[in-house]
Amino acid sequence: MTSPLEAASAARTMTMASALNTAIHDSMSADPKVLMMGLDVGKLGGVFRVTDGLQKDFGEDRVIDAPLGESGILGSAVGLAIRGYRPVLEIQFDGFVYPAFDQIVCQLAKFHNRSLGAVKMPITVRIPYGGGIGAVEHHSESPEAYFAHTAGLKVVTCSNPSDAYWMLRQSIESDDPVIFFEPKRRYWAKGMVDTADTSFAPWPLHKARVLRPGKDATLVAYGPMVATCLDAAKAAAGDGHELEVIDLRSLSPIDTATVVQSVQKTGRLVVVHEASVSNGMGAEIAARVQEKAFYSLEAPVLRVGGFDTPYPASRVEEEWLPDVDRILDAVDRTLAY
């Protein structure tokens, strides 16, 4: 992996995995307090190779293969933060974050508050998430709403390589704990990344982004479903419907204003995510939008998401996950109102 500092002159095309790798690399170069810790993040470079080469570059003291316990990973990160470090953690798969849930909810999210601000918790928890990769159980889940409901955490997710790079760098720079969800099925999608952008933060970490303008209805998505929504918008354009597509990016805090502005224009909103619908992010967005754009809504906010079942066996996951058709079906329903 070439350090982006060596190739500072130009933007490059890279995969999301490579963008994330570069982001960690650059953060570690920039600040000796940044550590990378997780299962198999050393020689193996992580099961998705996101930490590839980092141990070679920064040594075993800074790129740490953890003993096999997620609670240990989170708990020790809290201790490292008390000592002044900035750990970046990798949870191997979405479904394995739960043994660490106690340390996340009771310690990571609350420590700064408990200390009345005396101690910062600049910890980034990277979680590859979402389905669609044909995996066995626990490898395809979307647990983001648990964290978004937890006061004291920031929760973000990227949908493209450039955001992957910048949002991860911003997360690592943040003095607050950030749960950083990586849409694993998009790891190999490519895009331009300009790691040399001197303005550092081309887009604020907690701001949503309108990726495609439209006037007939708004689609809000994040992470893996952004590309699906863009596809849906393209298909809808063929049918003469102009859909505005918003990449939410930050799940906590939520950039409600950007969504509301869009709905004020389109009057219609469909929220899309892979997680089970009930008590998912779609609920929160619907609740906010109906409150803040009550008179603008010409149809109820609709939600397209995973069903209220456990994530199913992989041979049926494509049916279970939202796809272009299910999104367009919701669009049709909202337009028919």
Partner: protein, 376 residues
């Protein structure tokens, strides 16, 4: 004196059959076994290896999404599996295909899970073999709870051969670092439960060598919790059988838990998704190849039990039949229908879920009407 600096002696590794196939005795773990029985173990080992190899092949052919091979661990699994009585209950990880074999779970059912047609899908109480558990260590607590039930059912220490019940909980060297596994030790010790903890130390947890988890042999951990631990040659099916039997017997008779550390080696990749060349040397593999769990049994049978080539040929033929059968059956496994995910969420579907299901069914129907999905 200082607190530190006392180096405990290196542990014995219980061995009853050397890598060269020489039968040796261990003063503490006698094993009465006939050559017929050893032949039967050989058959188990060979068939498990064949089945496991076939599954790896099926994954390469795209028939499975993933496979976690047990290559090299057949003796550890068959030895333990054959020590079980019918009424005993086994709690596997995701790699105990050899134990599943001993419990008469159809290999094809296992393939179904790795193909992605189900998330498990067998009835744990039918063969007394729990569903595979992927979350590391979680099953050790299930084993503890099951054993609590066994005790409450009065199925410990009665002396009745077919009644007294033991529970066998599998986990790996990596999983030994999970809180759950250690809580399971605590519960089993505190309530003197009939659980045998069976750790296959295959030296690796994906890319992490066992030294990342512990600096002392894992079996020693048991003593700290107040029950016996023993390390066995996990590539020696006789040692695995003998020690598992003794531990299970003692569990059934009410003497409480044991930790067995089967010292073995993961000869293959962690799973078919893994690339072990990134983190381990082939030297190590070569060393362990010389300790192959099947070769030593074959050597013993040929040299000391006078077993003829016919026997091995017959097993080769049976292996081939097995491979053909599972290959075909695997390809014919039916995918779940789009509505099946709703089926077993609850024992009775809630109205809320039924409504969701109905909505989705109507949606799907709309495509049938329109004659194809994806046309929009």
């Amino acid at each position: 004196m200082t607190l530190h600096g006392h180096v405990p002696p290196e542990p014995d590794l219980v061995q009853l059959l050397t890598p060269e196939g020489v039968r040796v005795d261990h003063p503490d773990f006698p094993l009465e076994i006939t050559d017929e029985e050893i032949k039967s173990l050989y058959r188990d080992l060979a068939l498990v290896r064949r089945f496991d190899g076939e599954a790896t092949a099926l994954q390469r052919q795209g028939e499975l999404g993933l496979w976690a091979s047990c290559l090299g661990q057949e003796a550890a699994q068959v030895g333990a599996g054959r020590a079980l009585r019918t009424q005993d209950m086994a709690f596997p990880t995701y790699r105990e295909h050899g134990v599943a074999w001993c419990r008469d779970v159809d290999p094809v059912t296992l393939l179904g899970m790795f193909r992605g047609v189900s998330l498990g899908g067998w009835n744990p109480n039918e063969n007394n073999f729990n569903l595979y558990t992927i979350v590391l260590g979680a099953q050790t607590l299930h084993a503890v709870g099951y054993a609590m039930g066994v005790v409450r059912d009065g199925a410990v220490g009665t002396g009745e051969h077919d009644r007294d019940t033991a529970v066998l909980a599998f986990f790996g060297d990596g999983a030994s670092s999970q809180g759950d596994v250690n809580e399971a030790f605590i519960w089993a010790a505190a309530s003197n439960l009939p659980v045998v903890f069976y750790c296959q130390n295959n030296q690796w947890a994906i890319s992490e060598a066992v030294e990342r988890q512990t600096r002392v042999p894992l079996f020693q951990r048991a003593a700290g919790f107040g029950f016996p631990g023993v390390r066995i040659d996990g590539n020696d099916v006789l040692a695995c059988l003998a020690v598992s039997r003794m531990a299970l017997d003692e569990a059934r008779s009410g003497q409480g838990p044991t930790l067995i550390e089967a010292y073995t080696y993961r000869m293959g990749a962690h799973t078919t998704s893994d690339d072990p060349t990134r983190y381990r040397l082939t030297d190590e593999l070569e060393t362990w190849r010389l300790r192959d769990p099947i070769e030593r049994v074959r050597a013993y049978l040929v040299r000391d039990a006078g077993v003829s080539q016919d026997f091995f040929d017959a097993i080769d033929a049976e292996s081939e039949e097995l491979a053909v059968r599972i290959r075909e059956a695997c390809r014919q496994l039916k995918d779940p229908t789009p509505l099946e995910p709703f089926d077993h969420v609850f024992s009775e579907m809630t109205e809320e879920l039924a409504e969701q299901r109905a909505g989705y069914a109507a949606y799907l129907d709309s495509f049938e009407d329109a004659s194809l999905k994806g046309a929009s």
